[in-house]
Symmetry: C2
Subunit: 561 residues, 2 copies
């Protein structure tokens, strides 16, 4: 069996190594357009920022490793220029020498990845505008940041020009790469403006959760311009750049990072006449087989089934790419492996905080017309409050109204986010309900969690809603209900809800007569716990009451500024 693998990072490299382990006799060729195979592109922003100082650290395995250990004919700087799917041959071009050779294959595996989107805007090719995809990209950015630039601003005393390093960056695009680049450029001492066409950063998040991320970044000094697309770029007279936006603004920049998103690399698939999906990725079956049974595709270039919604999606993530590569190797070796779909688990460091997500967001459910869900906002501590260093975990959990199945979770916090997100991720993979979350037995000691872990707590709150014990309302849908605030007067002095009547929780039982029997009562406190207690008292005394999920904590990011 002769297998040609196109693309030597993540999916391609995983496939090659696994296939060799499964089949010592297979003839395996792995070609990579760039100069490196198996490099850590997820580490590139941190290399730019200097946290990963040595470029060599990013090279997980080299061409030599693949040759010596895996007996793989590994060729870098080697591009596929045509595919004859009928004859089962590919033309390979050595991009150093220009030489073209033709190779036949029994099976072809495409792992071309996704390319950064570079819209054809005026000035997009000006020096100083970079994407972040490859090791050379990172090297070019670092060189640009380390060079001296002429500051033509008047020197107070001499009027002469001075030299300095780049100081101002504009990052275009507020997705994962954009946010990681923002953090890393700030880490290097630059001032950073983030320009994002959408009304929120981090598009996979729901907007009210993204608002927390935006606020956190703004507090760290990032200038964030939402709802304003980039219209073009130009050089200024002082020799730096300007990013021009659709609203007519101009943002000065010594460097511009383009992180608008990625697009599946489908040029090869088109050469091979393969079917593409409606999202523009290569269409594959559960075994990563394309419409041509001898051609497989993996990684960011393919469409995957969203594990929760069942929709075809483009979800470019390293973990899935690696697993898909392994699955193709299995299938080529005659094993019956299948890819289960992608649930979109992702995580991103933002200064001292972490934002993470898994499963379906509310906006995705709304887009597909799914109304069979409820959501909660909770703000538990990352570990026992009596142990120092506990941080609030701003948590949104989405679940099926009809059967309690966990659909999605989004968590932002400065401690313990990954721990909870992995629990939620595992739970979604296994089809857990919120009742399962209630009963989960997770690690607890004071430095790590609470006897009721945030994951348990999410399940308990959700179960109380579905059982009817605790009807809830949300800030964006209050109607003209009676608002009852059960916090202490001191708390209300700090921030009050307009129109809300205050009865502190301990007084509720003795002041029921002050409440309306003919109106729905929405109960408010800081984080919805005391309001829950009050709601229970009211419901059992014949009132119609609902708890506003997340209380004042969710209000701060749920209502319009």
């Amino acid at each position: 069996m002769k297998v040609i693998i196109v693309g030597g990072v993540a999916g391609g490299a995983s496939c090659a190594a696994r296939l060799r382990r499964l089949d010592e006799k297979a003839e395996i060729t792995m070609v990579e357009r760039g100069p490196y195979v198996s490099y850590a592109n997820c580490g590139l922003p941190y290399h730019v920022g200097g946290t990963i100082e040595n470029e060599a650290s990013l090279l997980v395995a080299t061409e030599q490793t693949f040759k010596a250990v895996f007996n793989v004919d590994c060729r870098t700087n080697c591009e596929v220029v045509s595919i004859e799917a009928g004859k089962k041959t590919v033309d390979l071009k050595n991009t150093n020498t220009g030489e073209i050779t033709t190779e036949s294959y029994d099976k072809l595996v495409l792992s071309p990845g996704a390319a950064p989107i570079r819209p054809p805007l005026p000035g997009i090719d000006l020096p100083g505008i970079f994407s972040v995809r490859t090791v050379p990209d990172a090297r070019n950015i670092r060189e640009w940041l380390e060079r001296d630039i002429v500051q033509s601003a008047m020197n107070e005393y001499s009027g002469a020009n001075t030299l300095s390093k780049p100081k101002k960056a504009v990052v275009v695009g507020g997705g994962f790469i954009g946010l990681e680049m923002v953090e890393n450029l700030i880490h290097r001492g630059l001032t950073v403006t983030l320009v994002e066409k959408l009304d929120q950063v981090m598009p996979p998040l729901d907007p009210e959760m993204a608002k927390l991320v935006k606020r956190y970044m703004a507090r760290r000094g990032v200038k964030i311009k939402l709802g304003d697309g980039v219209a073009g770029f130009r050089n200024t007279e002082e020799g730096s750049l300007e990013v021009l936006t659709e609203s007519g603004k101009a943002h000065k920049a010594d460097i511009v990072i383009l992180a608008i998103g990625v697009r599946p690399e489908t040029a090869l698939a088109k050469l091979a006449g393969l079917e593409l999906g409606q999202r523009g990725g290569i269409r594959v079956d559960e075994q990563m087989r394309t419409s041509n049974p001898d051609i497989f595709a993996v990684g960011d270039a393919v469409e995957v089934k969203d594990f929760v919604t069942g929709e075809w999606s483009l979800i470019p993530l390293a973990g899935p790419a690696n697993r898909q590569g392994r699955i193709v190797a299995d299938v080529l070796a005659g094993r019956n492996s299948r890819y289960r779909g992608t649930q979109g688990t992702s995580i991103c460091q933002i200064f001292d905080a972490t934002i993470a997500q898994t499963g379906a967001s509310e906006k995705v459910l709304k887009r597909i017309g799914d109304t069979n869900f409820e959501k909660i906002y909770i703000y538990p501590n990352s570990h026992a409050g009596y142990y120092p260093g506990a941080k609030v975990l701003a948590t949104k959990v989405i679940f099926r109204k009809s059967d309690g199945r966990l659909l999605g979770a989004q968590v932002l916090g400065e401690d313990g986010v990954a721990k909870r997100m992995d629990s939620f991720s595992m739970a979604i993979q296994m089809g857990c309900t919120i009742y399962d979350l209630e009963e989960s037995e997770l690690t607890y000691a004071p430095p790590y969690g609470s006897a009721k872990d945030p994951v348990n707590f999410a399940g308990m709150v959700a179960a109380d809603i579905l059982s009817g014990l605790m009807p809830i309302a949300h800030w964006n849908d209050l109607g003209d209900s009676f608002l009852l605030d059960v916090r202490n007067p001191q708390e209300i002095e700090v921030e009050a809800v307009p129109g809300a009547v205050n009865i502190p929780l301990p007084q509720i039982r003795s002041r029921l007569g002050e409440l309306p029997v003919d109106r729905e009562i929405l109960v408010i406190c800081r984080s919805a716990q005391r309001a829950y207690f009050a709601t229970r008292i009211l419901l059992q005394n014949g009132f119609r009451a609902k708890n506003i999920s997340g209380g004042m904590m969710s209000r701060s990011h749920s209502i319009q500024d």
Copy 2:
């Protein structure tokens, strides 16, 4: 309905609060023998150590909270002195005044917890010997540590006695509380000797994993004496203590912490004539009902079904106690809640490291005669190796040979332990197989994990074993097989395996002729990855080969010292 809850911590307090939310009209009395309800006993070691400075921080909810918010008749310093189960009454004694009152109940909930074991050894009641269970215990220990003691050791110049704070501690018992106390006493600047009767610390762990814990603690200066029980205590002439052991040793101590374990408090259950289990805990059904249908019991005093083995067990943990309390409240309110059993998820901080465990250990499986399992040792990085700060996670995973079901996991490391343990815990709860672990989509960005998370990696290694792709052996069962070490000569110079032949991995294919065709070949490398590659090459070339799980990394703690 009149409910009396005996015990106002964890399970009892959870039950009282939940019951009030479910039933506004119930008459709820909660009695607590000690001066505080709802205190954080898990925090006591950290209060002793000073990490939690204020005692008040440990009081999660007060008697007043229970009265004002939950309308619970909450009585501290109130002990049950007799139970008339036939008449459904209890006699309550006010331990301040000695007054005894009789209260009737419709339902009685026992949450008495477990008491530290204090064997009747000579000298056990000497001043300076403490258990760690209650807030007053912690207060007494702190006072003892802060007092001045006379140092009668000759002063070099004057020969006069000097005053100083206690400097030497002996901790008896190497379980969770023992290890937490060791850490916290070291944190306070004491030198600590740990005396444990068993041959290992942390009894729930398998011994080879416990050995890693011991080694880690020893590197931090803890003197650890295993396999030597305590025979008694005595005062020395200088006014300090000595801990005498069964082997005849005497360990000097200015303070002694007894952390030998806990025993379910069953005095009340005996008063009420309730059935006990063979482990000595109160026997309850899935709804936490005792043999008397009007009496429920929760928390450390009851026996629970081990979720994995199905055995009745004593597993004193705060999370289960809290959930059991909620379940009793549900049942009392007519809801059909059931307790699913306990899987023994636990975690403990040891200086900068964390040790955690869930599910069945190898020694428990062996004890119950279960041989349908396999185990692996893996040593993945806590996050991408190219991102600074990655730490090795020493990981043991146990799974069913027949169907791949995950049975247990034990992890030690300095980063990311809780994250992985929660994934394993959730997986065991949901009946995951190792194939599910392979496909799990967990959080990955360079600071948090790897594209193949340690949890995925565990699944992949285990699946390769069960599919026959990678037969494995273990260090404690090598037989007289041929040992092949595929590391580089430089690595072998550092540490060699006696009798092993060295062929570095990249040379294997060209040196197959040097290997025996008639003997089983056990392959060795640092962490079993290169040995896996070599094993695959050998198997496909007709040799009988096995990978030694965990390689040199597991050898360091698997073989006898």
